[in-house]
């Protein structure tokens, strides 16, 4: 379960005495298997929201809890280890490590979590099978197309069965056909593993593949479509 409680965040502005507010009292509660989209204008704080959820940044006030654990109470190392075990990421620019093979990239979270050998190989193969790239296992990223690279990134984000997957504009660099493939794949895998998925996007088509769509504004997070409203605390 992922919970955001009245999270506020501001950044230093031109006048140090007057910080520039970015997020104002955002609250949200997501259960395993929830898959939501966050939309909003550029600069409204979508990236900041993801950074706070990932534990890459800490809120000025409020709290982020993952499976009951407050991220603010953890030091940098503990947050990193939490990310390693319980989170997955998909970036707009794929960010595959160029000098690792497809299998190396997908297996990286497993290796970091101390999983190696046949178990790890089986899991990598399973994910590659799922994303349709089993035959590209030993290829390097530069040998793949954009859509293939993003499918590898999706496999990497899910291989260690994380509790939360954060995807930032995962289809921003892809053609519509590849984008549709990646979105479908992401949804299917999230649902299969029961992971929470948060998709940040400007694309209504992409947002439509999620369970609920939220709009992030200066006032906070508002439900746009879907069946469950965010729990306001």
């Amino acid at each position: 379960m992922l919970t955001l409680r009245q999270v506020r965040k501001s950044f230093p502005g031109p006048d140090p005495a007057r910080p520039r507010p970015v997020l104002a009292e955002v609250s949200l509660a997501l259960e395993p298997g929830d898959y939501i989209a966050v939309m909003g204008e550029s600069g409204v704080g979508k990236s900041t929201l993801l950074n706070l959820i990932a534990g890459l940044d800490v809120p000025d006030s409020g709290d982020v809890l993952l499976e009951g654990q407050s991220l603010a109470a953890l030091d940098d190392d503990a947050r990193t280890l939490l990310r390693r075990r319980r989170m997955g990421f998909v970036f707009q620019a794929f960010h595959l490590l160029p000098h690792l093979t497809v299998a190396g990239n997908v297996g990286l979270p497993l290796a970091l979590n101390g999983m190696a050998g046949t178990h790890a190989d089986d899991r990598i193969n399973e994910l590659l099978e799922a994303v349709g790239l089993r035959d590209r296992r030993d290829s390097f990223p530069k040998e793949l197309s954009g859509g293939e690279m993003q499918r590898v990134a999706v496999a990497r984000a899910l291989v260690h069965r994380p509790a939360v997957v954060l995807a930032d504009e995962p289809t921003g660099n892809l053609d519509p056909e590849s984008a549709a493939q990646v979105l479908e794949l992401l949804r299917a895998q999230l649902k299969r593993d029961g992971s929470i998925g948060i998709l940040v996007t400007h694309s209504a088509v992409a947002a439509a593949t999620t369970d609920r769509v939220y709009l992030l504004t200066r006032q906070g997070l508002q439900l746009q479509s879907g069946t469950t409203t965010p729990r306001q605390e």
Binding site: F89, L97, P98, H99, L112, A116
Partner: protein, 838 residues
Amino acid sequence: MSSANAQLFAALVTGPLRHAAGRTLLAVVVIALGVALGLGVTLVNRSAASEVSLAARSLFGLSDLVVQGTNAGFDEALFPVLARLPEVALANPVVDVQVRVVGRQTALSAMGIDFFRAARMQPSIGVEAPRTNLSPLAADSVFLSPAAARDLGLEEGDQLTVQVGLEPVSFHVAGILPAAAYRQRAMVLDIGTAQWRLGQLGKLQRVELRLRSGTSTEAVQRRIAAMLPPGVSVTTPGAETDEALRLTRAYRSNLTALALVALFTGAFLVHSTQSLAVIRRRREFALLKAMGVSAREQIASTLAGGAIVGGAGALCGVGLGILIADLGLNAFGADLGAGYFRGIAPALKVDWLDAGVFFLLGTAAAIAGTLRPAIAAARVPAALALKAGDLEDPAVRGNTIAGLALWGFAGVLLLLPAVDGLPLAGYSAIALVLIGAVFLMPAVTRLLLRLLPSVRSVPLQIATAHLRGTARQATTSLSAILVSFSLMVAMAVMVTSFRTSLDQWLEKILPADLYLRAGFTSETAFLDANDVTALAALPEVERVDANRFAQLAVTGLKTPLGLIARPITEQNAGRMLWIESTATNVALPDAQPVWISEAAADLLSLRSGAVFTGSIGERAVQFSVRGVYRDYERQNGGVVIDHDAYVRLTGDLRTNAAWLWLKPGADVDHLVNSIHERLPGLAEFDVRRPGEIRAITLRVFDRTFAVTYLLEIIAVGIGLAGIAASTSAQVIARRAELGVLRHVGLLRRQVGFMLAAEGGLLGAVGVLAGLVIGSVVSLILIYVVNRQSFHWSMDVYFPWVLLMAFSVSLVAAAALTAVWSGRLSLRDDIIRAVKEDW
């Protein structure tokens, strides 16, 4: 420049330099340092050479020809013969010997001249009437050159005592010569007085000749040469000056070559930083190409950036070089501590042509370092580079074939002889070996990384995968450190080999228990036969070997060889000399047996068993070379002859050095005391135990090489700066990748460990390659450069402990530099590393 062009210039040339201000500044500093060291050493050398030249010129004044004998001199009867030649307008006889100053461990040139003739030949002498009551022609009057007066701390009216044989001979300083006269440390006295009081009766060392106008100097030179006795030659003052310079040219050239290493390394640093800048800016270049910037414009703009860096660095370097030269000259002297130019005190002469050449060299080094990256920038495939995530750079592809070809060419160069005594082909071969190594590094790096065992540590796995994938880029950053470390290894091996060989040689050639030295070749201080007998009669002494140092003139050699007469036979030669080769067949058994040094063998192109003719004094003698020996003492060649044979040939019974062997059970300290008590006259001489001589020699050796260590350390410092610059450039280029690693759960310290592993592995590859290449270069230095420069051979010794310490330090420095660069680059919030995507 139109406003549009100015805008374009700012966008393509100055903008990128400003954007990477830190690295631009580093490149400027490195080029400045390279130019400064090269120019500094060149200016010191130039000042020293100029002073040597002036000193040589000041000896000969306005003369057209110089008739010169060995230090033993020639019969003065030759003077009137020369003076009466119809072509000769003025002949000036000179007695020129070295005298030992009593009470000091120093010698002085004593020149006996005819003041009236000399004043016509050298108006600058201009001896004025002394302010004291001393007559210039009085038997106890001498004039001192300013250098001698300064060094000895003497003034007009003071007393100066020199040693002739065992006898002290006193003079009064009648005056100090004008600064424009003799520039070396010299005392000048009347020629008659000199012959009488300095033991040179009936002898001259030199006659300077001024010819009548319209006379052909070459024709008169040929005519005089035909009438000269053996051992006496006729030459021009210009040739004499050239010879004076030649004697130190090898040292000066080697020092300049070493100083240029910093500039050479600097060029590689510029190359690596520019190459990595091209990698970093690939998308920018691709964009410019897409917008219509042509390949030529792209190359020109990148080269212009290099030229600006080089020009700025070179300009600063010229100023710094002049400062370094001034400081070096004042602090260490004209030879920067090596002891080659004792007795001269040159002032700094800034040759603006040198400054201009070094300015151009600095600028050219930076442009040369930029050329390859500039071409790479122009060849960036626009479509591919504009795609995200592609950082491969085809331009830094190491060309294995080109590297091997350069090595092959270097091998051919090593077979070539010296050019005018300078090992130019050897230096070129070293440069080619180093450049070839840089070309071959990517292939070698890939091979070495392939040999690494697989590990479980994730950061280490990523580090090795990254290095394998970027071997071409990674080795680019290694080029500066590879070059400087290789040269440091080479110098360390060469210096250790030289020092160990010298130490072992000293042990071999110092077999006696005590050494008593009266003076060198041309000094007038000596022991006579009675003194040697008195030494032999001391109760502690079992045996005394008399050594006489003289000169041996050989036709074709401008400088006479050193002649050492000592008891030696074919049976005991191997115990007294470090024999390199022995004659198996003696061509002319009746010829006088001698052993010649390697330098003499090279200069005369002789081998063991050969025969040659030389002149001792005015007597021509045929010599049979019975062996060639190693000699680190006489760079201009030495010949060892049996003492009895020398006495038989010359009648000269004087001794310059006595070797004393103790009786069994006798104590060397008692012997020293005995000499002081029983032979107080001899106690004035230099009495040394072999250990003391070794210690003094090695101290001089270390002082000579001190400046080379300093130059090497600076070159390695530049190489390390190169690693820091390129590592930070690479880390910046990989910020997004490092950011992702932090996202997926790599701890901060694991990222640091990964970067340290990459830096350390890369450093280890550089160190391994540097050890191999440095060893190859050291062999070239030992077997080609030293042999051709100084005619010295030596055995090869590797300073393993020192090399290991260098290697470990460098690998650690490379690892720390990588971590430090990583910290600097990632000190901002990690989120910024992937900001472009979030």
